[in-house]
């Protein structure tokens, strides 16, 4: 006995977005359909926010606000891009806002003497986790990841976005171009500069050990 085709699945097949059906239900006022979208994308959005911000708790707050904003604006979503791409754009916006507020706050409160200071040539002095002479293998994995995350945090904001989206989250160049409203060539050149800058940052920490 043939099963009746699920209308949501049928719509997903036509748009190429697995979320389209649930988005449509949300647009009709079914709040519970949004639960599925949250469940599907919460981890990815949290990781993007975490890599952008570098603070787990702040990233959780940012993602929560981003989901709320997405629900408020879901009626405006027309399906021009995948829902995950659209949602990722919202998370990036909230992350940027958080970083801007944090920078303003830290400027007001005056920097701590322990904070790293970025020089004009891009190098950092007084870096807290810098262990000159320590071998790469001697660092525990957790500490290593913290170091890499710190280096990512020192990147320029635009470069960081491209690096996170491409090298950590695996977005295609096309998706990143749509998300950031940039041509693909610009995305690539920005990504290459981000990789080089990150490599230089890691060189400064680990020396020739990498």
């Amino acid at each position: 006995m043939p099963e009746n085709p699920d209308p949501v699945e049928a719509q997903n097949r036509t748009t190429g977005d697995d979320d389209a059906g649930f988005v449509a239900r949300c647009q009709r006022g079914e709040t519970e359909a949004f639960t599925v979208l949250v469940r599907r994308h919460q981890k990815k959005m949290l990781n993007i926010a975490y890599r952008m911000i570098g603070d787990y708790d702040a990233a959780c707050d940012v993602v929560q606000e981003a989901f709320l904003s997405a629900y408020r604006a879901i009626e405006k979503f027309r399906g021009d891009a995948r829902f995950s791409t659209w949602l990722c754009g919202i998370v990036l916006n909230h992350s940027r806002n958080h970083l801007t507020q944090k920078a303003a706050r830290s400027r007001r409160e005056a920097g701590s003497l322990d904070d790293p200071v970025k020089l004009q040539d891009g190098r950092f002095i007084n870096e807290p986790l810098s262990r000159e002479g320590a071998t790469f293998e001697q660092l525990e994995k957790r500490e290593l990841e913290a170091k890499v995350q710190e280096c990512i945090g020192f990147l320029d904001g635009e470069q960081r976005e491209v690096l996170v989206l491409r090298d950590i989250q695996g977005f295609s160049y096309e998706e990143i171009g749509i998300l950031l409203k940039l041509p693909e060539g610009t995305v690539k050149s920005r990504l290459f500069r981000a990789r080089s800058a990150l490599k230089d940052g890691l060189f400064r920490i680990f020396g020739d050990l990498i």
Binding site: L46, Q64, R195, K199
Partner: protein, 364 residues
């Protein structure tokens, strides 16, 4: 290609995004350049580190926390949009009720508004219309009590009220005779009376009517005392007989003017800035007709204007208006006609016109 150019192309080299020629060129360069090889090695290690970063896990109940906020938001939206505004059977009555409430409130406020919120129209009207200001002074003035009745109010003449009105209006003498003034004076009085002072006019008339009987009643008792003042203030056409017996000089007339009560004087000065100049005299002649012709001739010489002429048995009365500078010459000529008796000479203004009342009596 230089090392710097190679170094810039190495990320694309790693992603295999270069053309075959560029790729071959870079591969050949890397084989011979230790520095560029080291950079490539570092790039590969960096990429490996970044891609090897472990994903963080959402905190417990993260989904529930998010959905709790979402449901709260949805509930608020639902309450606002659907329960209140969306159903027409609720929306329309609420809006109609609100409109009705606003309209009732507006009417209530407009009707019970404070007086200071109304435009101060009377204030500006009183400033822009001088006649009303004068009327206000007149209406606000306290009338003289009966005990301070002036000789004017006690005058026995029936047209006392009219004469008072003439004083209040003070028409120019050049406008015409007495009849014309009588006819013309009430109308300007009514026109000049401001709206604020109109209710006071009947009150004043009523008060003067109240005063009149008292004045007439007291007239018989106090005429000997006050009759001379009547003679001065009221240039009536026919003077009472007892006036003829009294000899009033100009000084006496001036003295009698001082007896006018202060409220009455102030009222007259407030409403009648000009006082009329009057000369009244009596001539006893033997030949009445001849005397009248001579008087007419004398009046014509001084360019007098005859205002009134009466002739009864044995008595005639002439009232004329002459220029004040001619008054002395006229009096000198009249003295030659017979027994001359100057009863009143009141020259309020040296310039202007003088009303001359001449009574001619046949000398028996």
């Amino acid at each position: 290609m230089t090392c710097q150019e190679i170094e810039n192309l190495l990320p694309a080299y790693l992603d295999d995004l270069l053309s075959p020629e560029e790729r071959r060129s870079i591969t050949g360069h890397l084989a011979s350049c230790h520095r560029c090889s080291r950079v490539l090695k570092g790039l590969k290690k960096t990429q490996k580190l970044v891609r090897g970063l472990e994903e963080v896990e959402p905190p417990p109940f993260f989904e529930q926390r998010i959905m709790s906020r979402v449901r709260e938001e949805a509930g608020w939206k639902h309450r606002i949009r659907q329960r209140l505004f969306y159903p027409l059977y609720i929306k329309v009555p609420i809006q109609a009720l609100a409109m009705l409430l606003v309209a009732v409130l507006a009417i209530y406020v407009s009707q019970t508004g404070d007086p200071e919120m109304k435009p101060p129209a009377p204030f500006f009207q009183s400033l822009t219309e001088p006649g009303k200001g004068r009327g206000t002074v007149e209406s606000s003035h306290t009338p003289a009590p009966p005990s301070a009745v002036t000789p004017v109010t006690r005058a026995p003449a029936g047209d006392l009220l009219k004469k008072n009105q003439e004083r209040f209006v003070a028409p120019p003498l050049e406008t015409g005779g007495k009849e014309e003034r009588k006819a013309a004076s009430p109308a300007p009085t009514r026109e000049e009376t401001p709206a604020a002072a109109r209710p006071a006019a009947p009150v004043m008339a009523a008060k003067e009517k109240d005063i009149l009987p008292a004045g007439e009643e007291a007239l018989g008792k106090t005429m000997d005392r006050a009759g001379r003042q009547d003679a001065e203030k009221v240039p009536g056409p026919l003077l009472p007989e007892r006036k003829r017996k009294e000899k009033l000089a100009d000084a006496g007339a001036a003295e009698s003017r001082k007896t006018v009560s202060e409220p009455s004087r102030s009222r007259m000065t407030a409403v009648a800035p000009r006082e009329q100049s009057v000369i009244e005299l009596t001539i006893q002649v033997r030949d009445m007709d001849a005397a009248l012709r001579e008087i007419d001739a004398h009046l014509a010489q001084v360019k007098a204007r005859i205002l009134e002429r009466q002739h009864h048995e044995g008595t005639a009365f002439l009232k004329a208006e002459i220029a004040a500078p001619n008054a002395t010459a006229l009096l000198d000529k009249l003295k030659a006609l017979g027994r001359f008796n100057l009863e009143t000479r009141s020259l309020a203004q040296p310039e202007g016109n003088v009303t001359v009342g001449i009574k001619i009596v046949r000398d028996p």
